[in-house]
Chain length 742, copies 2
């Protein structure tokens, strides 16, 4: 009787779910999300939770992103294929929650197996991050007296990305009786309470059952499944309105055992493979035999092993942080599809529906450094996503009345603005410059200068045209950027946000210098005619770069976040913020918040971190001391930045506090931050905090070689970090005294 | 054969619909709206327009109010009882469009009568503003060869406000055939595309048929109707899913005639009469007999006559303007229920669903002066509405984190904030001070000082507490109002809007002086304990009033709309605004608009108009010349204010241009502004423009007697204006040389 050869459990690598609880169940579903870049499934029980209807519909309204309350429910299935989207009437284009293909239920007589209601003992569940497998084991003490040991194991193949596998082994520990099972695909799911399915069709053929559907965003998806049973049990196909199943019944006596293997193939019309979706689906599924199941698992493990070889950081002396870093790394590796340049990594890492599966500046600023140094191909593809959505960005610029290209604050697959709340959509324009920053970081750390010539220059020139049209002139003749939201989302309409103006200046300077370099290499003529670059363009880029209002230099003590920052109202935080375990935003009206000196997240400090050489150590200290006390860290992007700076300015205890905050964002079972998905930008943030903060690596953006100036926490004896640099995989060992290349 | 004794048509008093056209039909429905304060019915055809489904559902989203596009359709029924509301999932509490009780259809064989499809000649339709009756006459040339003269007449009784009457007279001009009819109540209507009805029940008894329903806002409504026929034609009752009807058939030969009289009774649970809604409905309907129909019409006419006696302005030499003013006056009279202090006048004058039947500052600033001087009881009730919603205003303050009371930007019946777009809801706080201004205007012009003692002081004290909590202190120790939207809705978040700060100072000064006066009269102790007024309250009111930032005095040339007004971007209007017949807002993105010097409407000028003695003539001129060229007048509240100031500073031609704009807002058949309802604030604006602008009356707010300083247009020989002053009805005759009391 074949079963998969499962790893031995290793605490350092395994994230555990301590047992069903209606308050925490949804949290573990998010935390234990599996994926292989191509598709992702939340860590939901195969049988669901009986008291929860997965197809309940409700109105989800666009809302202030900080304060949004999500539906309280103890389970939310989530099955996502990045790129498969639908149109929501109020939220615009969003990722679509697809049919749950891991669905499998059991019953003994009239008693359904259910984690909430059944008599369960010896419960154990964990995600093994080494190979992204999810294990669940428990004993089901049925009312009939039949005592069953249930063992579940499942994975989404990283070697064959359209395939998923599950194994369920049932052993009768005592008693005797009939176990009936239903295993299939359940299309009774909704996305943020909305039904995006226009057409759900169930079909069966000789050895598989299938669900095909169309989304109201125009995508088609096909999912098929077949079972291998350890015994010759007769099965039938049964459909209801929302689900197609194999059903069967097996008589079990004490000591007997029964194994169900399930294989799923999933394909979508938007897959990069192209060609006929149905044919790919059929051949993929057909190739899997009972006899070669082990091979599929082996191939899958091998991919994961390679990924970990390139990305695993070891922290000698602090297992807790190392494990947290493995958790962040696991989700970054899982969420990234380095074969698909048409999608990036959504804000919840495809582990939930918050933020509607959209792409933010997080990709470039928070996640990209990890990929640049562990998987340059993945990094390149994330940037190629922006290149591939440049047409959408041009449509945005036009829609707002500007020339050039304006990347959306919230992007889906087209690159058009999808953010439903205008305060963000209209004003967080810095993303457009952040992308140019990210391109340069990638190019400098990988040496892939061709990227500029082939793709980057298009983004640079088109976005530069946008900036030239977006600026106004003040009475002193300087170019100003009015009505801007910087990284701090608690001041929605400010003039001359320091971060934004500086980033725009950088983007324009970079554009000009890249053009100069291309000219020197004789590569400019083709680009010039392709992009219709005129002398006026060049003059304008230079003029705005030279004359945009920058209100600080190395002598400025406190760099103002924006014009008139001091005019915003002072707040008595201790009076307002009664419970620091909750968001500050919950204790203040948006109106009051928006006119006060309360930062949601790093803004001036974010700029200083990204341009470290432009500021003195004293400026780091002074601005940290000014801004940190008025920063609420209500954004998950905030703690890591503050932690990095705290580490660098020698605030060791504070840095450790921020490290704990960063880790707790998803991993705290009290906060349950992962309910609606993984804070994937913060995963990148933790990597940066360890690499840039504690290990003190100088960003590849500002250095021609890899160097570290360690600020290691007391108990950290050694940190071992793999770094890909100009195509070479290197491994550095950092300790308190310095670093060496292994 | 009884028919109503209809007025002879008089062009000065009749608003005509030139004939069915699918582009203009919805416009005339709005323009010809009938009402009696208690209920209102748009001027829709009894039979509807066959190609339009009135119960179509769609998603209406909250949107920038200037740019919102309404559903294009050639007919929209509208039947409203102010106070009857429902909950919309995205728009919050809105007025509910109730069943269309004027519904009546005719057919000859298989041919339905339809203005779009039937062969119609000799069409005539007009609203007679003298008594609010609607007349329609035409000849229907049926395919059968039967030629029918159709004559419709209807009114909502102003004497018996729960009753409505209609008469349809059919005369066979030639031919012979069966005319079938259906007359009843049609509940197949939606409000802004949403179904607010939770429970629609059709019932019939011996002589009437009824519709009862509950809204999802908790209101109950009962409508009943009965028919009187000129001939003994047998009728039956027929229901379908959304409508209950009497049906019948009448054989007609050349020269024969048939008359249908319909009486409708409508009552709601929220009626001020209280008691049993069903009993009131039954007794109201029961009292109407075929024999006393004429009496009901006479009583109705008498009420209208009295209303016109108190409000009619005559303009000798300019019939066009006089007629437009009659139109504005008609809708103001119709829209106001001076017997119900629980509702005010919604922004579309209950003639459509734009703005969701909500109450704005328009009531106090634009409409109230008309009522103060023509119907003080009506004026008082409009202010009583605010008093009655003070509890809601207190809840708003609490919801935003403040003490006291904060009136909502958009109010429904509870006084809680209903505005779905936060830029308005959060920042247009001036309404809270405007209400205090309005109270003082009412008190000064009517002499009703008891209003302050009994009601006004509660509003003043509670709103003063809000202001004390809403202000911040700047570095110079002045009180500031940060993040405010003034009357100009194109700058959503500004600091120290001149209008708002000044109005708040006025409200606080007024509160303090009213308290002093009550103290002097020995009336304060009861109030003090009722409102828990402390010495700290009093100190704070005085302190904020004395130290709120006011950045101008009589020597200031240009009064800045807000701090840093000059920093907003300059616009090249001629490049952007390609078609001045359309809103400027349509030609610019909200983002660009919100950061530019483009005013939607009067802001500094609005303040100057409301506080005329505080500014010099030169300041009026300078600020008019600065602001008018950058004002888009995209708001219907703008033209009248500019017209008044233009008249006063002697810009005669410009004033006449503004007069045309004011008139055209609803009356231009090209603009079709009345499609979604009447711009009722602009109706008050036209009255103010004639009275305050051209006639030059000094506002009762700033004068202890009625005086006029005329600025009459060239062709105006004489203006005759009725003015109620301290309870006395006076009539003034104004000509170019001065004025006299008649």
């Amino acid at each position: 009787m074949f079963t998969f050869d499962i790893n031995e459990k290793d605490d350092l690598w395994c994230i555990e779910d301590p047992g069903f609880n209606e308050d925490s169940s949804k949290y573990y579903e998010g935390l234990l999300t599996q994926g292989n870049g191509y598709m992702h499934v939340r860590g939901s029980f195969e049988e669901g939770v009986r008291s929860v209807k997965q197809d309940e519909e409700y109105d989800r309204k666009p809302a202030n992103v900080t304060l949004e309350k999500h539906k309280k429910q103890s389970s939310k299935w989530g099955t996502y294929i990045p790129g498969v989207v639908g149109k929501h009437p109020y939220l615009f284009t969003e990722i679509v929650n697809l049919p749950f293909f891991m669905a499998a239920s059991f019953a003994v007589k009239d008693e359904d197996l259910d984690m909430e209601e059944s008599d369960i003992s010896e419960y154990e569940r964990y995600l093994d991050m080494r190979d992204g497998t999810l294990v669940r084991r428990f004993v089901w003490n049925t009312k009939e007296g039949l005592k069953l040991k249930m063992e579940y194991f499942r994975f989404l193949s990283f070697a064959d990305k359209h395939l998923a596998f599950s194994e369920i082994k049932i052993t009768a520990l005592s008693g005797e009786g009939d176990l009936s099972f239903r295993s299939g695909i359940d299309a009774g799911v909704r996305t943020n309470g909305f039904n995006h399915f226009e057409n759900v069709l169930f079909t069966e053929d000789s050895d598989s059952i299938s669900v095909s559907l169309k989304t109201n965003g125009g995508n088609s998806v096909l999912m098929s499944t077949k079972l291998f049973l350890s015994d010759a049990v007769e099965t039938a196909v049964m459909q209801d309105l929302s689900r197609i199943n194999y059903i069967g019944r097996k008589h079990l006596k004490t000591g007997e055992c029964f194994v169900i293997h399930k294989v799923v193939a999933a394909n979508a019309d938007c897959d990069v493979e192209g060609g006929n979706m149905e044919a790919r689906n059929v051949s993929g599924l057909y190739a899997v035999k009972k006899e070669n199941l082990a091979d599929y698992y082996e191939a899958h493990k091998k991919v994961w092993k390679n990924k970990w070889d390139d990305a695993e950081i070891k922290i000698v002396g602090d297992e807790k942080t190392e494990k947290a870093l493995k958790f962040s790394t696991y989700h970054l590796l899982r969420a990234d599809n380095d074969e698909n340049p048409n999608v990036a990594i959504c804000a919840k890492g495809y582990a939930g529906e918050a933020y509607c599966g959209r792409y933010f500046w997080d990709t470039e600023i928070n996640m990209l450094p990890f990929f640049i140094h562990t998987n340059p191909q993945g990094a390149k593809n994330l940037l190629m996503f922006r290149y591939n959505t440049l047409a959408g960005a041009k449509r945005n610029a036009r829609a707002y009345g500007y020339k050039g290209a304006r990347f959306p604050w919230e992007s889906s697959v087209s690159g058009e603005e999808e953010c439903a709340c205008w305060q963000y959509a209209d004003h967080e324009i810095h993303v457009t410059a952040d992308i140019v920053y990210a391109i340069m970081h990638y190019v400098k750390a990988t040496g892939d200068r061709d990227f500029i010539k082939n793709y980057g220059i298009d983004i640079m020139v088109e976005t530069a045209r946008y900036w030239v049209d977006r600026v106004d002139k003040d009475m002193k003749g300087r170019y100003v950027l009015l009505s801007v939201m910087g990284p701090d989302e608690y001041l929605p309409m400010t003039n001359n946000n320091a971060y934004t103006n500086h980033m725009v200046k950088f983007a324009l300077d970079t554009t000009v210098s890249c053009i100069e370099e291309l000219k020197e290499k004789g590569e400019f003529d083709e680009i010039k005619s392709r992009l219709n670059i005129t002398d006026e363009d060049m003059e304008a880029f230079k003029d705005v770069a030279a004359n945009i209002k920058i209100s600080f230099n190395k002598d400025t003590e406190i760099i103002l976040q924006c014009d008139g920052f001091y005019d915003f109202a002072d707040l008595d935080f201790s009076r307002i913020w009664k419970d620091r375990s909750r968001c500050f935003g919950e204790f203040i009206s948006q109106e009051k918040n928006y006119r006060s000196k309360a930062l949601k997240q790093a803004d001036v400090l974010e700029m200083m971190m990204l341009f470290p050489d432009e500021f003195t150590r004293q400026q780091f200290i002074s601005n940290y001391d000014y801004y940190e006390p008025i920063t609420t860290h209500d954004s998950s992007l905030s703690a890591a930045v503050h932690g990095i700076i705290a580490a660098r300015i020698g605030r060791d205890d504070v840095a450790m506090d921020f490290l704990k905050r960063v880790i707790d964002i998803d991993l705290s079972a009290d906060k349950k931050g992962a309910e609606e998905g993984i804070h994937i930008a913060n995963c990148g943030g933790l990597w940066q905090m360890v690499v840039y903060g504690f290990a003190g690596m100088k960003s590849g953006m500002w250095s021609d070689e890899v160097t570290f100036a360690p600020n290691l926490p007391e108990k950290w004896q050694q940190v071992i970090i793999p770094i890909n640099w100009h195509g070479e995989k290197k491994r550095y060992v950092i300790d308190k005294n310095g670093f060496e290349l292994r």
